[in-house]
């Protein structure tokens, strides 16, 4: 009986044909082409243990933060916005970090007086809830962005960090050097090579690429200061026109069209005399005029920039550029006077050697 059943089973034709064989092969090849997932061979017990450990850790963390924050919720919630594929990180204080696909932000600390985020890659748009008692820092490579309450964007690339401010003010620091950015301003730090504190910044010059500032070591990595690029956000339309002029000027400078860059900048100065980016536009115009060889025009532009009292690196750079432009225009006495003003204002400034040379009568 048993032998008969075995014989019948053996005699049964295997329902496997060319069609099934080809279909299975197609699926196998698709699966082989797809990125491999890690094998799912973690024993159930280990997984259960890991889940329990994570739950305990989360509870412990929550309790610790609860104590630190004296009753305020401190945990962050993460959500995916399906319409934009952004990952939205909501902090308990109401601040929001919208991470573009591929971006990565890690919460380092959320405390009553200090919030620290570490951004290692990609573009993140921050909306920070104002809180003067709390220090809010975004760290990206060796760049720290200190915030009081503002909207800004940080773009981290392997060798550069860009910061663009939409609203409010941020202070950006890299190795002891600090730059304050106002709404509409942006800055790019190159993060490779020597530290910021030991170098002189280089600001993009028209057409011929970045030029080394006097007194700066040869090996200094450049720091580019420029207006914020138009951001892919609807809320930026309010500030789009001045930005468009700045972008137009940037593009013209990049293509060597210095006349076009100067035209765009003058248009901006004429149409938006009260815009927050005017000081920056004056500064860039000064650089463009210097590159064109119009040193008198450059002097005027840098003077106008300094007159607007820009803070941070822009103010320092503008004063040094003004002095240098005066020197190039043939006004040695005026250049020396401005150089002395620079040294008095920025005794350890990055242009001090160049300014000293102007005072000493060297060119």
């Amino acid at each position: 009986m048993l032998e008969d059943a075995i014989r019948r089973v053996r005699e049964r034709e295997v329902p496997w044909n060319e069609l099934r064989q080809a279909g299975a092969l197609r699926r196998i090849e698709r699966a082989r082409a797809a990125p491999r997932r890690p094998p799912r061979r973690v024993p159930l017990l280990v997984m259960a243990g890991a889940c329990a450990a994570v739950a305990c850790f989360a509870l412990w963390r929550g309790r610790v933060h609860h104590v630190i924050a004296q009753g305020t919720a401190t945990t962050a919630a993460v959500a995916i916005a399906p319409e934009t594929s952004e990952t939205i990180l909501r902090l308990a204080d109401g601040s929001i970090a919208r991470q573009a696909p591929g971006a990565f932000v890690q919460v380092q600390a959320v405390e009553e007086e200090r919030t620290e985020l570490l951004q290692t890659l990609g573009t993140v748009h921050y909306e920070i809830a104002p809180n003067p008692r709390r220090r809010f820092v975004v760290r990206a490579h060796d760049v720290d962005v200190n915030v009081l309450g503002t909207i800004f964007l940080v773009d981290v690339k392997p060798l550069a960090v860009s910061v663009h401010v939409e609203r409010g003010q941020v202070e950006v620091a890299q190795q002891g050097r600090r730059v304050t950015l106002a709404a509409g301003e942006g800055i790019t730090f190159e993060t490779s090579g020597a530290g910021f504190g030991a170098i002189a910044p280089r600001i993009e010059s028209g057409g011929s690429g970045p030029s080394q500032r006097p007194g700066a070591p040869e090996s200094s990595p450049p720091i580019r200061t420029r207006a914020a690029s138009p951001l892919p956000r609807e809320r930026m339309t309010e500030a789009s026109s001045p930005l468009l002029f700045l972008e137009q000027a940037d593009r013209a400078r990049a293509s060597g069209d210095l006349d076009g860059a100067a035209r765009a900048l003058r248009e901006l100065l004429q149409q938006y005399p009260n815009d927050t980016r005017i000081a920056l536009a004056e500064f860039v115009l000064g650089r463009v005029e210097s590159a064109r060889g119009s040193h008198v025009e450059a002097v005027r532009a840098f003077e106008a920039c300094v007159a607007r009292g820009p803070g941070g690196a822009l103010g320092e750079d503008a004063l040094a550029e003004w002095a240098s432009a005066r020197s190039r225009s043939g006004d040695a006495a005026g250049a020396a006077s401005l150089a002395q003003r620079y040294l008095a204002t920025y005794p350890s400034g990055v242009h001090r050697r160049a300014m000293q040379r102007l005072i000493d009568g060297e060119h």
Binding site: L2, V9, V14, Q21, R27, I28, R32
Partner: protein, 182 residues
């Protein structure tokens, strides 16, 4: 339709073919699949008792072949190694089936699992009786008695020693005999 395989690979010895497969050759993989897909399907059909999961089984087995070919020390043992992978996959699928059956029973959902024409009756009866044999005995018994694999091949495919394979086959045989006598 299966992809055409170049004549060169078509004629290669198994050793050369497996060496090419280990070096990541897609053509070698297709040729290995062409040579052994039916063998895996046969193991699956005989051990599972039906063809409902045959395609998935063949796919899963060859995916594991693709991932683990680097670990194959002796190319001569490829067929046995392939059978071992297939049996492991069947083992998992059988376990899933048992859980599903248990769930169906607990929910009171019981339906016909297969047709019952007169000429299939002995076959269906045998698989029903085999369902009552422990899995550790069922698979070696099927590999040896139905698939016709030798005892060492069966032991290797089931991942047990020869003695254990013999003992389990004998245990399955005894259970089946008792079941039939009853």
């Amino acid at each position: 339709m299966a992809q055409p395989v170049p004549q060169q690979i078509h004629n290669d010895s198994e050793e050369v073919l497996l060496a090419q497969l280990a070096s990541g050759s897609s053509q070698a993989f297709v040729e290995v699949y062409r040579r052994y897909a039916r063998y895996v399907a046969t193991i699956g059909f005989r051990l599972l008792g039906d063809d409902s999961e045959l395609d998935d089984l063949v796919q899963e087995t060859f995916m594991q072949v693709s991932a683990g070919i680097d670990g194959l020390r002796d190319p001569k043992g490829f067929r046995s190694w392939l059978a071992t992978i297939a049996v492991r996959c069947i083992w998992r699928r059988r376990a899933q089936r048992r859980r599903r059956q248990l769930l169906r029973k607990s929910l009171g959902v019981l339906g016909l699992s297969r047709s019952d024409p007169a000429d299939r009756r002995p076959v269906d009866d045998l698989y029903e009786q085999l369902d009552r044999v422990p899995e550790r005995c069922r698979l070696p018994w099927l590999m040896h008695r139905v698939m016709g694999e030798t005892l060492p091949e069966t032991a290797a495919a089931c991942g047990v020693s020869l003695t254990t394979a013999k003992r389990r086959i004998a245990e399955a045989e005894a259970r089946l005999e008792r079941s039939r006598d009853a």
